[in-house]
Amino acid sequence: MNLYQDIKATAQAYWITLRNMFRKPVTIQYPEQKRVPFERYRARIVLTRDPDGGERCVACYLCSAACPVDCISMQAAEAEDGRRYATWFRINFTRCIFCGMCTEACPTRAIQMTADYEICRRDPLTLVYEKEDLLIDGPGKEPDYNFYRHAGIGVVNPRGQGEEERPPADVRSLLP
């Protein structure tokens, strides 16, 4: 019967809310009580270094292209040894939505997200992080990876002596 069903459903609804009133709230009382984030929690972004201590970021602009809110900007430049690096690198955390697309896009594992979620500030300008604020001393996740060991442009090892490379070819050789 329709009316019976309706009344029963309404009564059930009232019962559920009433019962919930006497259950323990799930709220975490934030400043006193802090949640332990998961390992892959997406919060404050850092720039990591490769295992040899060099900056991993090659300023390829992929993170800034992937960023849906356009909060990453940088300028690439060439160092004397041919290494491509960022002369300046800026993340505007007031705009960042911590979606993690930048870390997904990063081909060198330079840009990574940490679990440090407590980065609220009163002054928005203090949330505009520059390269010196972002760069950390360690390799972060994937500690053994160094992009330049694999890209054959010869920065950390001489040309043709990378991990998957043969020595430079000699065009004048007649040998097969």
Binding site: Y14, L18, P25, T27, Q29
Partner: protein, 334 residues
């Protein structure tokens, strides 16, 4: 001390008591609602200001008073000014006729615990609740905003529709109590409350009162996900605060009316009358909050359909049935 002076002083004292009670009551209703809703949703609700968040109403008041008082440039300034006042004052005035306890003896005289025992108290209540519509309607109209106007139109039609069923639900009470005076109605329930004697009238009245208070599930006039905030869209600061306080005073008044008309007012065993009265009012207020935590909002056509096609006919039938039964039971007095 002349007789008239004592009467005046007594009335003023009662007025002060009621004012204080109503305003603090309304303020703490807000807190209670937020806490209870929080618990129903497995949260704590406000618990930062004072112990258990008890000073939250004070903080809210300070916030509302210090906020910018914004008036839309195209608004009708005069009406915009007085509309929140109308809403709050009509709500407050209704309490004048509510008897909140049995008469007590004070300084050797019988003092009725009602500010003014009008012999047409029921009509006074109906009249004021009709006037309350003006606060909402004028506020929405004077704001000169689409959403506010839509909200006030909704409020107008909703309040008028449900006033009808509310009025019709009171008719059996008046028939049974044979009086328009609220004190007499309470006294008529010394034995059994009318809620038990005439449950259909009680339920119809309860639903109509929910609708009159413009609260969930009947909060269409301020449905925030449809029309921003309805009639008070353009109000800010203490002007919004008056609408807000008015709504919660209204909840208390309407709970009192339910108590007086159907739950036997101050009558109850063991405890003093005044305590019974406030317990009953508290329970009905809790019912309001509980409903808000439970039911979703009606669709507009459902609201009108329910009012006009179910409640009003039901109330009419109830009036006739009650009248007929009373006539059968008591043919001599008829």
């Amino acid at each position: 001390m002349p007789e008239w002076l004592v009467t005046t002083i007594l009335i003023l004292v009662k007025l002060g008591f009621v004012f204080f009670l109503l305003l603090t009551g309304a303020a703490y209703m807000v807190l209670a609602e937020r806490k209870l809703l929080g618990r129903m949703q497995l949260r704590y609700g406000p618990n930062r200001v004072g112990p258990f968040g008890l000073l939250q109403p004070l903080a809210d008041a300070v916030k509302l008073v210090t906020k910018e008082d914004f008036i839309p440039s195209q608004a009708d300034k005069f009406l915009f000014f007085i509309a929140p006042g109308i809403a709050a004052v009509t709500a407050l005035l209704t309490f004048a006729v509510v008897p909140f306890g049995p008469p007590i003896r004070l300084f050797g005289r019988e003092v009725p615990l009602v500010i003014c025992d009008l012999n047409i108290g029921v009509l006074y209540f109906l009249g004021l609740s009709s006037l309350a519509v003006y606060g909402v309607t004028l506020g929405g109209w004077a704001s000169n905003s689409k959403y506010a106007l839509l909200g006030s139109i909704r409020a107008l039609s909703q309040l008028i529709s449900y006033e009808l069923s509310m009025g019709l639900a009171i008719v059996p009470v008046v028939l049974m109590a044979r009086s328009f005076s609220l004190t007499n109605i309470v006294n008529a329930q010394a034995g059994l409350p009318f809620a038990i004697l005439n449950p259909p009238a009680f339920l119809i009245f309860l639903v109509s009162v929910l609708a009159e208070s413009k609260r969930i599930p009947f909060d269409l006039p301020e449905a925030e996900n449809e029309i921003v905030a309805g009639f008070h869209t353009e109000y800010s600061g203490m002007r919004f605060g008056l609408f807000f306080v008015g709504e919660y005073i209204n909840v208390i008044i309407l709970s009192s009316m339910v108590t007086v008309l159907f739950l036997g007012g101050w009558h109850g065993p063991l405890l003093p009358g005044i305590v019974w009265f406030f317990l009953k009012v508290g329970f009905i207020s809790f019912l309001f909050i509980w409903t808000r935590g439970t039911l979703p909002r009606l669709r507009y056509d459902q609201l009108m359909h329910f009012g006009w096609k179910i409640l009003v006919p039901l109330a009419l039938v109830n009036v006739i049935v009650t009248g007929a039964i009373l006539l059968l039971l008591n043919p001599a007095k008829g």
